[in-house]
């Protein structure tokens, strides 16, 4: 078992009166793929956004590489080496592929952009993701298909020399071949020593690539287990009911007494 690269302890997050995350503990290990599963609205995306510095947390602590860190914005997360593929992709429609991939971290001297350099790097990364249907890396993102956009969002995240990559349903809009590519990429990133978090509703994908499975149920971490210790049906039960046999959180009525 490898070292935890990212550790969350007792994270709480509310939006107004809605308490979305309850005392969530979550560990990402270097060189492993951690699948984060849970029903719609369980709080997966919210957890990812808390890690990425988009939502401030109400309480709890974050340890990166064993050190306690405070992430106040996307820049802090990126500086630590945390990259995110958001569920809604967060791309700028009017900008082209290269411009999107380097957004916020453009290359160049003294504020003047080095377009050729960025274009080359973008093209290299896209080629590695087997994006062959995009005619030009200078196509505005608005003109891309859903799957192509998703690939751009993924390419944007793997372009950087990062330590942790969080992918929020990265294969939702992808075709068979592209899904294969992304799953392979996920494994490859882990083999290179990155901590990878994959959010997915597809149990086959989860069981194929994940070393560990973390299951959120109504904003509570129901279980965090090695993949080999659980079965398909147990995970489905954890997702839908929050417990499965002696796994998972105690029954709500039992917790109350």
């Amino acid at each position: 078992m490898s070292e935890p690269i990212l550790e969350l302890r007792g994270i709480n997050k509310s939006f107004g009166a809605v308490h979305v995350l309850h005392d969530v503990d979550f560990t990402v290990r270097a060189g492993e793929v951690t699948a984060l599963v849970g029903d719609n609205g369980a709080g997966k995306s919210t957890l990812v956004k808390c890690i990425a510095g988009i939502h401030p947390t109400d309480s709890g602590e974050v340890l990166f590489d064993g050190r306690q860190v405070s992430i106040h914005g996307p820049k802090d997360a990126a500086d630590l080496g945390i990259e995110v593929v958001y569920q809604d992709l967060a791309l700028c429609d009017n900008l082209d592929i290269v411009q999107n991939m380097f957004l916020g971290r453009e290359r160049g001297k003294a504020g003047v952009l080095d377009e050729a350099d960025m274009e080359q790097a973008a093209r290299r990364t896209l080629a590695s993701l087997s994006v062959r249907t995009v005619k030009s890396v200078r196509t505005p993102v608005a003109a891309l298909s859903g799957g192509q956009r998703q690939t751009v969002a993924i390419a944007k995240a793997v372009l950087w020399d990062s330590k942790v990559v969080l992918l929020d349903e990265p294969t939702a809009a992808l075709g068979v071949a592209q899904t294969r590519q992304v799953l392979d990429l996920v494994r490859r990133l882990a083999e290179q020593g990155l901590g990878v978090v994959l959010i997915s509703h597809n149990m086959n994908d989860v069981f194929e690539v994940a070393d560990r499975i973390a299951c959120l149920y109504l904003g509570r971490m129901a279980a965090e287990l090695p993949t080999k210790d659980v079965s398909h049906s147990q995970v489905v039960e954890l997702i839908t009911a929050g417990r499965s046999g002696d796994l998972g959180i105690a029954r709500p009525d039992m917790a109350a007494v």
């Binding site: 967060a90 429609d93 160049g108």
Partner: protein, 350 residues
């Protein structure tokens, strides 16, 4: 964290992708080509109808001079509109900047008459004008980006407030003593024999604005924020700060425009700028910059400034009643925005 990770990705296959961001393609996509052709057609028509009056050096000079001040305002407005914002206050800020600049020069001159003031006094006037314009820009920016009040409301407020402040300072009476040295050089002087200095300054601002927008990080972030502010924020761009800077920039340019106007008219023309804001916005939108943000160019804005200017000149030369000019401009403006809408709808359907 700015090194590309080479090991993660396979070895590059050299892409079958020779396309540089063809300037041509961008022009076309931004409506600029179409509207540029309209401008060209106008020049050809007026030139063909009255070559002896329209195709003269004098006409060209006055056309350019009269467009210079608006051009400077419109360059700033281009940045604002690309961020999906708006600034209705530019004309009033121009007046305010001109007034505080002129008042400063008077105050620094013996007897309160700045006509014979030297370059030191003029420089002080310029600095105060820029500060005056920049201050309004900063206030606009902070209220819009920090306090999150809609730009339309904030700048409608400063549109009234800046003009009111200018009138309070002057009691509503134009400042009439403008240094001759300034008026004779920046105001009515020429360089290289034929090029008016006022035009040179406007061209310099325009070229600089174009370079900043197209080739710098600042420009790229301007487009990104207008395109998807949340995505820009998640990419680590300091959106609030950037927006404040953009409104500060347009304020500074309005300050400069106020000083240019002072040099050209030799007075503060307090009541002469109530529609500058609309003219600048019209020019920017005519030039293909989208009111929805994320799209646009300074080159387009230049064309957008000259369409009304050429129409006005042409109508005067052809003895068409001047009242036709706003009608013609409005038709072209609405057509341009309609084109933009159609294009967006076509894109969103795909």
């Amino acid at each position: 964290m700015t090194t590309a990770k080479q090991s993660v990705v396979d070895t590059p296959e050299e892409g079958d992708d020779p396309s540089r961001p063809a300037a041509w393609q961008r022009l076309r996509s931004a409506n600029t080509l179409w509207i540029g052709l309209v401008l060209l057609a106008l020049c050809v028509v007026f030139g063909a109808l009255r070559p002896e009056a329209f195709l003269t050096l004098f006409t060209a000079q006055t056309l350019l001079i009269e467009a210079s001040v608006l051009l400077v305002l419109a360059v700033g407005m281009t940045f604002v509109i690309i961020t999906a914002g708006i600034d209705l206050s530019v004309g009033s800020v121009l007046v305010f900047a001109g007034v505080v600049g002129a008042k400063t020069m008077e105050a620094l001159s013996p007897g309160g008459d700045a006509t014979d003031a030297g370059w030191g006094v003029i420089a002080a006037g310029l600095v105060v004008s820029l500060l005056g314009g920049g201050a309004w820009g900063l206030v606009n920016g902070l209220l819009i980006a920090r306090a999150r009040i809609p730009a339309l409301i904030v700048t409608l407020g400063s549109f009234g407030a800046a003009l009111g402040a200018a009138q309070l300072i002057t009691d509503g009476v134009d400042v009439r003593t403008v240094p001759s040295a300034l008026a004779n050089t920046l105001g009515s002087g020429t360089s290289l024999g034929v090029v008016p200095n006022l035009v040179l300054l406007a061209v310099a601002v325009t070229v600089l604005g174009d370079l900043v927008l197209r080739t710098t990080r600042f420009g790229r972030h301007t487009y990104a924020i207008g395109s998807n502010a949340e995505a820009a924020r998640r990419a680590g761009i300091a959106v609030t700060r950037h927006l404040v800077l953009v409104y500060l920039l347009v304020g500074l340019l309005a300050g400069l425009a106020g000083f240019m106007s002072l040099a050209y008219f030799r007075t503060t023309t307090i009541s002469g700028h109530s529609t500058d804001n609309l003219n600048a916005i019209a020019a920017v939108v005519l030039g293909g910059t989208s009111l929805f943000g994320g799209l646009g160019s300074v080159l387009g804005t230049v064309i957008g400034v000259f369409i009304p200017a050429v129409l006005t000149k042409g109508f005067v030369i052809l003895h068409v009643q001047a009242f036709w000019q706003p009608i013609a401009v409005s038709v072209v403006l609405v057509a341009a925005v309609w084109f933009d809408q159609v294009r967006r709808r076509a894109r969103n359907r795909s």
